[in-house]
C-alpha cells in the first residue's frame, strides 16, 4: 500500500472499521511511514475533541408524559369524531342527490336546480311516463320514502357508533388518569417512607459515640 491508499483508510482504522487483512497492511505501512502516522494521530485527536463535548443531565417527567399522552389521545378522538360526522353528512348528502336525482344547471343568465325525473326524458317518451305515473305513483313515493328512512337509520347508526367509540375512549382516558394518580400516590407514600427512614438513620447516627468521647 502507498501513502494515498493508506490515508483513505485512516479514519476507518481509527474506529477499527477495517477488515483484518487491510488493517494489517495499513499497520505495516504505518510502521514505516512517519507522515502517515502523523495523519492517523490527527484523526485520533478529532475523536478526542469530539469526546470533549459534554451532555446535559436530563430527567424526564413521567407523570407529565402520561398526562400529555392522555391529552393527545383525547385530541385524536375528537378529530376522528369530527371526521366521522363530516363523512356521514357528506355520504347522506350524496345519497339524497342520487335518490332525488338533483340536477344543477347553469345556463345563460339563470341557474336551474331541479329534482325528480328529467322533463326532456318525460317529453320524449310520454306514454311510458304516463303509464308509470298512472299505474303506480303512490308506490314510487312509498319506495322513495322507504329509501330515505333507510338512509336516516344508517346515519343514526353511524352517529351512535361514533358516540360509543367516544364514550369508550373517554372511559379509557379516565382509567389512565386514575392509574397515574395511583402511581403518584404510591410515589408520594414511598417518598414519605424514605424521609422517615432517613430521619431514623440521622437520629441513630446522632446517638453513636463521637471520636474522642469517653465510653
Amino acid at each position: 500500500m502507498n501513502c494515498t491508499e493508506v490515508r483513505e483508510k485512516l479514519s476507518a482504522l481509527s474506529y477499527d472499521d477495517l477488515d483484518p487483512a487491510t488493517k494489517h497492511a495499513v499497520r505495516d505501512h504505518l510502521a514505516k511511514c512517519s507522515t502517515c502516522r502523523t495523519e492517523l494521530a490527527a484523526f485520533q485527536r478529532v475523536g478526542d475533541a469530539l469526546d470533549s463535548v459534554g451532555v446535559p443531565s436530563v430527567r424526564i417527567d413521567v407523570l407529565g408524559l402520561f398526562q400529555q399522552a392522555a391529552a393527545r389521545r383525547a385530541m385524536q378522538v375528537r378529530r376522528w369524531r369530527r371526521a366521522a360526522i363530516a363523512t356521514c353528512g357528506l355520504a347522506a348528502s350524496l345519497a339524497i342527490v342520487v335518490l332525488l336525482r338533483v340536477e344543477l344547471r347553469v345556463e345563460a343568465q339563470q341557474l336551474t336546480i331541479r329534482w325528480g325525473k328529467n322533463a326532456v326524458e318525460e317529453r320524449t317518451n310520454p306514454t311510458v311516463v304516463e303509464r308509470v305515473v298512472a299505474r303506480d305513483d303512490s308506490a314510487a313515493l312509498a319506495a322513495l320514502d322507504d329509501r330515505l328512512r333507510l338512509l336516516d337509520d344508517l346515519v343514526h347508526a353511524l352517529i351512535t357508533d361514533v358516540e360509543d367509540r367516544d364514550e369508550r375512549q373517554t372511559h379509557r382516558v379516565a382509567r389512565l388518569r386514575d392509574r397515574v394518580e395511583e402511581l403518584l400516590a404510591r410515589n408520594s407514600q414511598r417518598l414519605g417512607e424514605t424521609e422517615r427512614n432517613l430521619a431514623a438513620v440521622v437520629t441513630a447516627l446522632s446517638f453513636l459515640p463521637k471520636k474522642g468521647d469517653k465510653p
Binding site: A12, L50, S52, V53, G54, L65, R73
Partner: protein, 188 residues
C-alpha cells in the same frame, strides 16, 4: 446499542400489560443515552430536554403497536432520530443558525473551565456545520458506538453510503478543527 436487551424486553412486556412503573423504569434506563444522542445530533443543549420528552411521549403513544423483536433500543433510537430530524427541520425553517444557539454544555472541572468551554464551542460549531446526514452518522457511530450495519437498519441507508459520509464528516472536522491541533501550523 442496548446494554440489557433481555431486561428491556421484560419491562416492555410488563408495560404493554398496563404496568406504568415498567414504563417509568424504561424511561429511567434510557433517558440519558437518548439525551446524549440528541445533544450531539441537535448540537444545542437547550433543546435537548424538550426533544427527549417528545421521544418518550411518542414511545408512550406508540407502545401498544410495538412488537417485541429483541431490540427495544433500536426502536427507541428510530423515534429519537425522527424527533431529531423534525427539530433540525424546525430550526432550519426558523432560520436559526445552530451555531448561534447555546452549544452543548461541557462537563468541565473548574480549573480548565475556560479552555474546555472554548474547545466545546469549537467542536459544537464544527458539528453544526456538518450536513444533517453526515452529522447523524457521525453521532451514531462515534457517540453511540453503533456499527454501520446497525445504522443502516436504523436509517434505511446502505452501509457503504454511511461509511463514505462518516469518512467525509471526519475529514471535514479534521480540517475545521485544525487550529486546535498543536502539531499543525495555525492558518488564519
Amino acid at each position: 446499542v442496548g446494554c440489557s436487551g433481555q431486561d428491556d424486553a421484560d419491562l416492555v412486556a410488563r408495560w404493554q400489560r398496563g404496568d406504568a412503573q415498567a414504563f417509568a423504569d424504561l424511561v429511567g434506563r434510557w433517558q440519558q443515552p437518548i439525551a446524549r444522542f440528541l445533544t450531539h445530533a441537535l448540537g444545542r443543549s437547550d433543546l435537548v430536554g424538550d426533544a427527549c420528552q417528545e421521544v418518550f411521549l411518542r414511545a408512550l403513544l406508540a407502545g401498544p403497536r410495538y412488537r417485541e423483536s429483541g431490540s427495544f433500543s433500536a426502536w427507541l433510537y428510530r423515534i429519537a432520530l425522527n424527533v431529531a430530524r423534525d427539530a433540525i427541520r424546525r430550526q432550519r425553517r426558523a432560520r436559526l443558525s445552530l451555531v448561534n444557539g447555546e452549544p452543548a454544555s461541557p462537563a468541565a472541572s473548574p480549573e480548565s473551565a475556560t479552555a474546555q468551554h472554548e474547545l466545546t464551542q469549537h467542536v459544537s460549531a464544527a458539528l453544526a456545520e456538518l450536513p444533517e446526514p453526515q452529522r447523524l452518522v457521525l453521532v451514531l457511530r462515534h457517540y453511540e458506538g453503533m456499527s454501520f450495519e446497525d445504522i443502516a437498519r436504523l436509517t434505511a441507508t446502505p452501509a457503504s453510503t454511511l461509511k463514505s459520509r462518516f469518512a467525509a464528516a471526519l475529514n471535514f472536522l479534521r480540517f475545521r478543527l485544525r487550529h486546535l491541533d498543536p502539531t499543525e501550523e495555525h492558518q488564519p
